[in-house]
């Protein structure tokens, strides 16, 4: 895998980049108006500078993976899109509208859903209550609940159980179900395979693949084979910057250069 000083004739399928504010190289096949355009975002936790000019595009209908080792700013990127960690510089355009300055609830109301890293199901609420609360105001709650149970039969069996009593895999299913009933056009999915057994990861992958038929997905994932299997394109994040991007068809999970970005 190439780094920023990679030779010009590198044929690994990975475009290396040190994107700076507002400059985006989103790889092959990018239409003129992406669904989501993150442009030169700088975000901080207190005085810690976490994102240093991150730019990326996600086109409608795509699954785009954001990969990188722990602590490089992947989750912060999602939080910055959602305005949970509002950027101090840069823009986040969604359907052409700048989300910076909006409240998180307003971002969500525009159709941006979040399936967070540690599931964050409401543990004291029942499974069904978790689904019901995720249906937008005015939505058909009963139809949404029925659809979730059709997609995830295991959840129907535990419909009256507190979500905190579910297994990790079931909680992940519930988190995905919550994102689906939110009638979202863009799903931000953060580390869905983290801490799950391999068989459960396969189920989660199927669920994400199903979800991607209904919504565009920006997927943060450290499980490289899973990320490449699910995604159309990828971005590699390192030290708060996008350092590489490409088409997943052009790389493999055992690409040494790509793997190099995921190991400390």
């Amino acid at each position: 895998m190439s780094s920023s000083d990679a030779p010009a004739d590198d044929t690994s399928g990975v475009d290396t980049t040190t994107e700076t504010d507002g400059e985006t190289d989103s790889g092959a096949g990018t239409p003129a108006d992406p669904l989501l355009a993150v442009e030169g975002v700088h975000s901080y936790y207190g005085e810690s500078h976490i994102l240093e000019g991150v730019s990326l595009d996600v086109n409608e209908g795509e699954v785009v993976a954001l990969i990188g080792r722990n602590g490089v700013g992947k989750t912060t990127t999602l939080r910055s899109i959602l305005q949970l960690t509002p950027p101090r510089e840069g823009h986040v355009h969604y359907r052409g509208e700048d989300l910076v300055g909006l409240g998180t609830n307003e971002v969500a109301q525009r159709g941006v859903g979040w399936i967070p890293e540690d599931r964050r199901v409401f543990s004291a609420l029942t499974v069904e209550e978790n689904v019901r609360i995720s249906v937008p105001k005015g939505g058909d709650v009963d139809a949404a609940v029925a659809r979730v149970y059709e997609t995830f039969p295991a959840l129907e069996e535990r419909r009256n159980a507190e979500a905190g009593a579910l297994s990790g895999g079931q909680q992940q299913m519930l988190a995905i179900a919550r994102g689906l009933v939110g009638e979202n056009d863009l799903l931000l999915i953060d580390e869905p395979s983290e801490g799950l057994a391999p068989q459960i990861v396969a189920d989660v992958a199927d669920a994400i693949a199903d979800a991607s038929r209904e919504a565009t997905v920006l997927l943060v994932e450290q499980n490289l084979p899973l990320a490449l299997d699910l995604a159309d394109r990828f971005y590699v994040l390192d030290n708060g910057q996008v350092v590489a991007t490409g088409d997943t068809d052009d790389v493999s999970a055992d690409d040494d250069d790509l793997r190099g970005y995921l190991t400390a």
Partner: protein
């Protein structure tokens, strides 16, 4: 004194045996249930606010006291000597709606105007602010009460006098006799708990409050304006404080007075801490536990073993200390609640 105490303790086994008579047990039971109802009403608003917002509202007692005076004012204006007992009761419920409405509006104003700007500051700012609100409310009420020629530190007798006669009597229900006010407190307490419980578990807004109490950030990410929910819940919590105050305005053991602010804040905090900060179910269970402990201690230390009124209160605080040592998060508490 020590000889008297020794003699009393010596007679303890016999006196404890007296507890297991039908009259003593029923008396303690009804006393416990009425105290539990009052404690639950006092603590409900406090726990709802803390559960969702993580704000320890030190002004809760003062808002209860304000509710007692406002409720008393409504009753004194509406009730005359010729007003019948059932009409007085009807006026009470009119007053309850008025007090709930006024206090809720005050709560919403306080949240939007004073508390909201401090959400991103450390909790000590909110504690100091609500403590400051307490001082302002107490002094304003004291000035107004004195202006109208009333004694702020003693119960407002004119308001107490608006109570229907049957609430001041012992009511005979089959084989048992229960104080009218005790029964009224039990019924109103149970109705209020049921109403809040239904709100939390049967309405979408209640679902949002419970979700927001657990994870405000995730709730916001579902498209819900949690700040607006904060305002509603703060208003509801303050309104409930007012309702509790109006009830206590009719209770001879409490009554509308400025010291009611402190007298109600302490047991409210005890109940909320024992139940687990921010959990409604825990608050109701803790109110029952504290009510029974208080009633039993009162029977033992006031009516039986030794006449020493501070001891029952000591028992309640002893439960608090034991709880903090063995289970600091309370009966149903979580490690973290609330947040913004």
């Amino acid at each position: 004194m020590s000889a008297l105490f020794a003699a009393s303790v010596g007679a303890l086994p016999l006196q404890l045996a007296e507890l297991f008579t039908f009259d003593a047990l029923s008396s303690v039971l009804f006393d416990a249930l009425s105290k539990a109802a009052v404690y639950a009403m006092l603590a409900m608003g406090l726990t709802l606010i803390f559960g969702l917002m993580g704000v320890l509202n030190f002004a809760h007692g003062s808002l209860t006291m304000l509710g007692a005076y406002l409720g008393g004012l409504v009753m004194v204006v509406l009730v005359t000597g010729a007003t019948g007992p059932w009409t007085r009761l009807a006026f009470f419920f009119v007053g309850l709606v008025v007090v709930f409405g006024l206090l809720s509006a005050l709560g919403a104003t306080l949240e939007v105007g004073l508390i909201r700007p401090l959400y991103d500051r450390p909790p000590i700012y909110q504690i100091l602010l609500t403590f400051g609100i307490t001082l302002v409310i107490d002094e304003l009420v004291r000035i107004v009460v004195l202006f109208y020629g009333l004694q702020p530190i003693t119960e407002w007798q004119e308001a107490l006098g608006t109570k229907p006669y049957f609430l001041g009597q012992q009511l005979v229900l089959g084989p048992v006799s229960v104080g009218g006010m005790d029964l009224f407190e039990m019924l109103l307490g149970a109705a209020t708990v049921a109403a809040v419980w239904a709100f939390l578990t049967r309405t979408r807004y209640g679902l949002v409050v419970r979700a927001g109490s657990e994870d405000a950030e995730m709730t916001e990410a579902l498209g819900i304006d949690v700040r607006r929910v904060f305002t509603t819940v703060f208003a509801l919590g303050v309104g409930l404080a007012g309702v509790a105050g109006m009830l206590l305005m009719w209770d001879n053991n409490w009554g509308a007075s400025v010291p009611l602010a402190t007298e109600t804040l302490l047991p409210a905090f005890v109940v909320v801490i024992i139940g687990g900060l921010g959990t409604f179910r825990g608050t109701v269970v803790a109110a029952v536990i504290v009510g029974f402990a208080d009633a039993l201690a009162q029977w033992l230390f006031v009516n039986s073993v030794v006449d020493f009124p501070p001891l029952p209160q000591l028992t309640v605080f002893l439960i608090l200390v034991v709880m903090l040592v063995i289970r600091p998060q309370g009966l149903f508490g979580r490690a973290e609640v609330g947040g913004h």
